[in-house]
């Protein structure tokens, strides 16, 4: 009996441990049934590379169509797609990394790239670019800045976006609200207080969409500070900067000008949008987020830059890759070459981009962008136009966040929650967060 008990406890836990261990269920391609139906059995002399990305069904379909075209034009290369949703993507990828089995071409998120670079898993693409295998001549540096670390290019942007605000155009017209780029937090507060008042209960002017973290990047940049210091060992802003930012956030919530925390959390988790629901007038967003949010909304939505701090000295804006493609350093040279060809194809080929329809962000090659702008939906066009506005106003490039970013961000969000619920004063919150961030980054 006693032994039996021990085993029972033990095996239950094992199940859990096993469940949490690398090597979870292989769920790629679960909805598409097979990787390829048109002769993926690699023929003689063919190089087979794996290409993995996360996304929704639309992206899966578009990307596979693009791959078919690529294989047609490059009969010596066969591409095996591996795709999943966002959540399982990273579990899968880290597992593959642990097993030294990363795909040749990996779609990357800005927040994760440094971890792959510092572990030596991302190939330095400089040679492939210099050779011209990946042709970057038509690409303005501003689109690639974030992906260059110590003069080595580790990834190629899959499309650009930037921090923005999405607003309800119809509503703004109705109340005659005009926020020209360059408007300040004070301007916004004034207008939103009015809007919240007029629209009454259940309506809030501004929605931070749980993106205070990113919004603060934009805020700090205006004071020539960055969220992280250059060495990646701690934060790169002064206490006062974050304190001022947090007082804006909390004051707006207290006044009813910004959505209360519990509402934001709930809306955010259910995948809805306050602006689309017409429960908020304007919200923080990534510029290409407009495409998705517009489909949820009845009203006409528009894009604007983020508000400026009244006493800010520099531009807070920058253009960033919405995601990028890296090449795994532990595949053979032959495969690296093939992978580079695929990335070049995605970057520069007109037909490929007509298939992909800027779904990953605004294309980085100028010619492609110009030709494509006529063919895409008006909403997508808007994101193209917005990026031009942003490019004009872009300040210094923003470096990639250091490894441990996910944990720091979680700590930031927890601190913010405590401050919003008055568990801590703003000063205490900032102080304890900075300490926690340093501890995480120095691990």
């Amino acid at each position: 009996m006693k032994k039996w008990k021990k085993w029972m406890g033990l095996s239950f836990l094992c199940l859990m441990v096993a469940g949490c261990s690398p090597g979870g269920p292989d769920d790629t391609n679960d909805d598409a049934g097979g990787t390829d139906d048109s002769g993926s059995a690699s023929e003689e002399g063919q190089t087979t590379i794996r290409f993995s990305w996360w996304g929704n069904d639309e992206r899966h379909d578009l990307t596979q169509e693009m791959i078919e075209l690529f294989e047609e034009k490059n009969p010596d290369i066969s591409v095996e797609p591996e795709y999943t949703g966002w959540d399982s993507y990273w579990e899968r990828l880290t597992t593959q990394a642990a097993g030294e089995n990363l795909p040749a071409v990996v779609q990357m998120d800005n927040s994760k790239l440094t971890e792959y670079i510092s572990s030596g898993l991302a190939l330095d693409l400089n040679n492939l670019i210099d050779e011209g295998t990946i042709n970057m001549e038509d690409v303005n540096d501003v689109y690639q800045d974030m992906l260059v670390v110590d003069e080595s290019t580790y990834a190629i942007s899959a499309g650009s976006n930037g921090l923005a605000t999405i607003y309800n155009q119809d509503l703004f017209e109705e109340y005659d609200i005009n926020l020209e780029p360059g408007y300040t937090y004070e301007d916004l507060e004034e207008e939103m207080a009015r809007l919240s008042e007029e629209e009454g209960e259940g309506f809030w002017g501004y929605d931070f969409v749980k993106a205070e973290y990113e919004t603060f990047f934009h805020y700090a940049r205006q004071f020539d500070q960055h969220f992280y210091n250059q060495e990646g060992t701690g934060v790169g802003f002064e206490n006062e900067t974050l304190e001022n930012f947090l007082s804006i956030v909390t004051a707006w919530i207290d006044e009813g000008t910004a959505t209360p925390h519990d509402v934001t959390v709930e809306i955010n988790e259910s995948g809805e949008s306050m602006v689309a629901n017409e429960e908020a007038g304007i919200a923080s967003a990534a510029s290409n987020g407009l495409i998705g949010v517009q489909t949820l909304a009845e009203a006409d939505l528009g894009l604007n830059v983020m508000p400026n701090a009244a006493d800010g000295e520099k531009s807070g804006n920058w253009v960033r890759p919405s995601m990028s493609f890296m090449i795994s350093s532990n595949v053979s040279e032959e495969k690296q070459e093939a992978a580079a060809k695929l990335i070049d194809f995605i970057t520069n080929d007109q037909e490929a981009n007509e298939i992909l329809r800027a779904e990953r962000g605004v294309p980085i090659a100028a010619q492609v962008r110009e030709n494509l702008v006529e063919e895409v939906d008006p909403t997508v066009q808007e994101t193209f136009e917005f990026l031009e506005v942003l490019e004009e106003r872009a300040g210094d490039p923003e470096p990639l966040p250091p490894p441990g970013e996910a944990e720091v961000r979680a700590a930031f969000d927890r601190m913010l929650e405590s401050v919003k619920y008055d568990d801590m004063t703003i000063e205490e919150g900032v102080e304890s967060f900075i300490q926690e961030a340093e501890q995480i980054l120095n691990q």
């Binding site: 096993a18 949490c20 990394a97 509402v263 405590s418």
Partner: protein
């Protein structure tokens, strides 16, 4: 050769018998092992192997992207001395187990008593009431739960219709914990079925004797049913406690550990550390501490059983 000779002689020597038996035993046990080999492979390959690996990893700093670095017991030291969220997750888990498990057992016992009348149709109801246990742990139910208790969800709509204040279930620590407890208690099916089986084992003559002695319903329940049922209560308590400590899906999907970490159950924090922060070594250390904690509680229940469990 000896055995062959034995056969030709028509005589059976003791050695021959012994040899044959050994041979057959060996063959039999080999067949036996072959039969259970799928389980054995699973047990060693998927359970024991990963467990040993996770034990080793618990002494390392491992982000899955680069090779593990041996750091001794640092993970364990860090957990106990410098991780307020670890303490918080322990508190949340203990609170949850201490409230949800007794409630669940009481509720399932209550229902088992209702269904034990032997009336027509009680079997059907037993089946219907078992359904939540089958689907309750699923992702779909967690999502439904989140919708139901949401800002514009069914519960708040009803509250509003009655003129009561609506509750922000995901913005309030107590409310968030409560809906998780309700969700777990709702999955009362398994202990209920076991209780029901236990109740049917109690000899009727005990009740008859109690009636003759003038005992009422409550007295019979306290003096006959409960003591006779203690082994079953004990079994259910152990099983449910272990399950309670490992609650993951519901908390992860319904509240996501919030608000302010108030429902950050141990398993949720473990997942976060392992797969969101990529601290696989630290997470492995956490898994082993959970093993010790569950072991300790199980041991405690077993030790206490001598005082309250009656086996006759």
């Amino acid at each position: 050769m000896k055995s062959n000779q034995a056969l030709e002689d028509g005589r059976v020597t003791p050695e021959f018998v012994e040899n044959e038996r050994k041979k057959r035993n060996r063959r039999e046990s080999l067949t036996g092992y072959a039969m259970i080999s799928p389980w054995l492979i699973g047990f060693f390959g998927l359970i024991i192997g990963p467990m040993i690996y996770s034990f080793i990893l618990s002494f390392t700093d491992y982000d899955m992207l680069s090779a593990p670095q041996w750091i001794g017991v640092s993970n364990y030291v860090e957990l106990f001395t410098n991780d307020p969220r670890f303490i918080k997750s322990l508190q949340a888990t203990l609170t949850f187990v201490a409230i949800a498990i007794p409630l669940k057992l009481a509720f399932s016992l209550f229902l088992a008593l209702l269904f034990n009348t032997g009336r027509k149709g009680s079997g059907m109801f037993t089946t219907i009431y078992y359904v939540p246990s089958i689907i309750g742990g699923s992702v779909a139910i967690s999502v439904v739960w989140r919708q139901m208790f949401g800002r514009d969800g069914a519960v708040n709509t009803v509250l509003d219709a009655w003129g009561l204040n609506t509750i922000s279930f995901f913005g309030n620590s107590t409310a968030a914990m409560s809906i998780l407890i309700i969700l777990i208690v709702w999955q009362f099916g398994a202990p209920m079925i076991i209780f029901l089986a236990g109740l049917r084992q109690i000899p009727q003559d005990l009740y008859e004797a109690a009636s003759v002695d003038g005992a009422g319903t409550i007295r019979k329940f306290m003096k006959v049913t409960i003591p006779m049922l203690t082994p079953i209560i004990f079994f259910n308590l152990v099983m449910e406690t272990i399950n309670g400590f490992m609650t993951f899906t519901q908390a992860f999907l319904v509240t996501g550990g919030g608000p302010r970490d108030s429902t950050l159950f141990y398993a949720v924090y473990l997942y976060e550390v392992a797969f969101e922060f990529l601290n696989m070594g630290y997470a492995s250390a956490m898994a082993w501490i959970l093993l010790v904690i569950i072991g300790a509680f199980t041991l405690l229940i077993f030790k206490s059983s001598t005082f309250w469990v009656h086996y006759d």
